[in-house]
């Protein structure tokens, strides 16, 4: 049983397709493991035992009928900002604590169609705003590699679930780094596709010009399988891109010959300390050893990414979250009139970080400040996107850190801006809409830490370059196998 929960999604699907193990068996093994580790990890806000069993039985039935399901019996964790019909969908917020989704998000539906089994709804920072999962109003999620540390965020529950063997694939959403950073913190592949490549129908919106759904997985191949099942146009999402999807799982590379990989001049890793500097340089040299030519590229405006993002994302969030007003769904706190009811509901329903972002966004969009803040940020965004266009004239992929440190301890980033800095390396790609992923690239013992923690290398491709991106990440992963250096402490719980 323990072996099953450590298997890759690709392996599980192959076994289930071949009839050597049933989806129901995989599901039971996973649910039993969830039972044993959830008390210490806390990945899920809702475990969907009955629904998982129903789906598993349906998958087994489809397999018997000869269907070739690419994700047959693969247990998945769904971030709790994505709708799954009939399940509680909270966004980690009190305002939606008891809301039950009346429909299923397209990305989730496509994974289920491909044979995946939903194990649970995973914890996240409230409305996906945060980098540690600590902003969830509904639960604490711990890093499976050191329970005194955060799993990253905002897709921290999905990441922890996959790292701890509570699912083989996690669905996350990434607005400024919310898949890539928890991927790096939890020794996983965290992959954000091109903006618009995966439908967001049924993803509860945070910042609509940035939000993108993607997978967290223990291998590049698994991330590719999930992406292949999810990607593509959806009439229900007007921002989803109507152009053919290139399959990625069948195009994984074994080397990097013929590729030029850009190392960003402005991202000098010396500032990250001696150990990380050494590890990232070693990672770049490994890329070279695999046949890539390293070239220096410049992203002169990337340093303005954080300032740009912290105007654009809050502005969009203030608009998107206006819908939570106590009228149609979720929490309502009464008042003497309707305005007081709105004010009270939102005061009681939203946590501090969500309030801060709504306030900053409201301010940035308010009369007299709109041009100075919001429009200026949108212009800076153009410069950042142009930087990448220029860089990609000289290289095929860009490589840089995924985060500036490994997973930190709880309450270590109590100042909001220090938490925002966690997204320094991931935000520029988000602003430019580019596909990017984090792949494990080494281990470091944090200051004061007891055990080694994983760090991630970020790779980024031009728009719609998913095939190249995943292909190259696979070559790097297979040649280095950094992820295998340590097992999560949760696999020792059973031992």
């Amino acid at each position: 049983m323990e072996e099953l929960i450590e298997r890759s999604a690709a392996d599980i699907a192959a076994e289930v397709r071949a009839g050597r193990v049933s989806a129901s068996h995989v599901t039971e093994a996973t649910l039993a493991h969830v039972d044993s580790v959830e008390p210490v990890v806390g990945s899920y806000l809702t475990v969907l035992s009955d629904l998982a069993r129903t789906h598993a039985a349906r998958v087994d039935d489809r397999i018997r009928k000869g269907e070739l399901l690419p994700l047959a019996g693969v247990p998945i964790a769904v971030k709790d900002n994505m709708c799954l019909d009939g399940t509680r969908t909270t966004c980690g917020s009190k305002i939606l604590e008891n809301w039950v989704a009346p429909y299923t998000a397209t990305a989730v539906a496509r994974l289920l169609d491909a044979g995946a089994v939903p194990i649970g709804k995973a914890n996240c920072d409230e409305f996906a705003m945060g980098s540690s999962c600590e902003n969830s109003a509904l639960g604490t999620t711990r890093n499976p590699y050191d329970l005194s540390r955060v799993p990253g965020g905002s897709s921290g529950g999905s990441a922890a679930a996959v790292a701890a063997g509570e699912a083989a694939i996690g669905l996350g959403s990434d607005t400024g780094g919310s898949i890539r950073e928890p991927g790096a913190f939890c020794n996983l592949i965290g992959f954000k596709p091109t903006y618009g490549r995966v439908s967001r129908y049924g993803l509860i919106a945070f910042a609509s010009s940035l939000d993108q759904i993607g997978p967290l997985a223990r291998s590049v191949e698994d991330a590719a399988l999930a992406y292949d099942a999810m990607a593509g146009y959806d009439a229900m999402d007007a921002t989803s891109i109507d152009r053919p999807v290139e399959p990625t799982a069948t195009s994984l590379r074994e080397d990097l010959r013929g590729l030029r990989i850009g190392i960003v001049r402005e991202f000098d890793t010396k500032v990250l300390g001696e150990d990380l500097d050494r590890l990232y340089h070693a990672a770049y040299l490994d890329l070279e050893r695999l046949g890539a030519e390293l070239v220096e590229v410049s992203l002169p405006s990337a340093d303005y990414g954080l300032a740009t993002y912290y105007l654009i994302a809050p502005a969009e969030c203030s608009s998107n979250l206006a819908r939570f007003d106590g009228v149609r769904y979720g929490l309502r706190i009464d008042g003497n009139d309707v305005r007081e009811m709105y004010d009270n509901t939102r005061a009681a329903g939203f946590g501090a970080e969500v309030k801060r972002r709504i306030l900053i966004g409201t301010y940035a969009l308010s009369s007299g400040y709109y041009d100075a803040y919001y429009v200026r940020a949108q212009k800076a965004r153009t410069l950042i996107a142009r930087d990448f266009q220029n860089a990609f004239a000289a290289c095929d992929l860009v490589a840089c850190p995924a985060a500036s440190c490994p997973a930190f301890e709880f309450a270590a980033k109590s100042d909001p801006y220090s938490m925002y800095l966690m997204d320094y390396y991931t935000i520029p790609m988000s602003l430019a809409g580019l596909p990017a992923l984090s792949v494990p690239c080494g281990w470091t013992t944090p200051q004061g830490g007891r055990v080694r923690m994983p760090i991630g290398l970020q790779l980024c491709a031009p728009l719609f370059g998913e095939k190249l991106l995943l292909g190259a990440a696979h070559a790097y992963e297979q040649a280095t196998k950094h992820a295998r250096a340590r097992k999560p402490v949760t696999l020792e719980v059973n031992a």
Binding site: R328, A347, K355, Y369, R381, T382
Partner: protein, 96 residues
Amino acid sequence: MPTDTIDIRYVAKLAQIALTDEEIERFGKQLGELLGHVHALTELEIESVPATAQVVESRNVMREDRLGPSLDRERVLAQAPQRQGPFFRVPRIIAE
């Protein structure tokens, strides 16, 4: 870029969030600090740069105006904090 301190009470009113005195003080300070960081954008020469709202493709999305299936009304209304028959019920909006 404006350097005014935020009138946090006014912004909270626009945002429809009741804040406690403690929150007004704390958020006011934190947002002031964030705006200080955001001020870095004034270093950029961007007057002539076009604004980017959406990165990948700019196009209008049109579709035929056709009836299709929609969510079940009962299921949706069942989640309303307060309802009256087929309606969402809200506190009085127009004064007597």
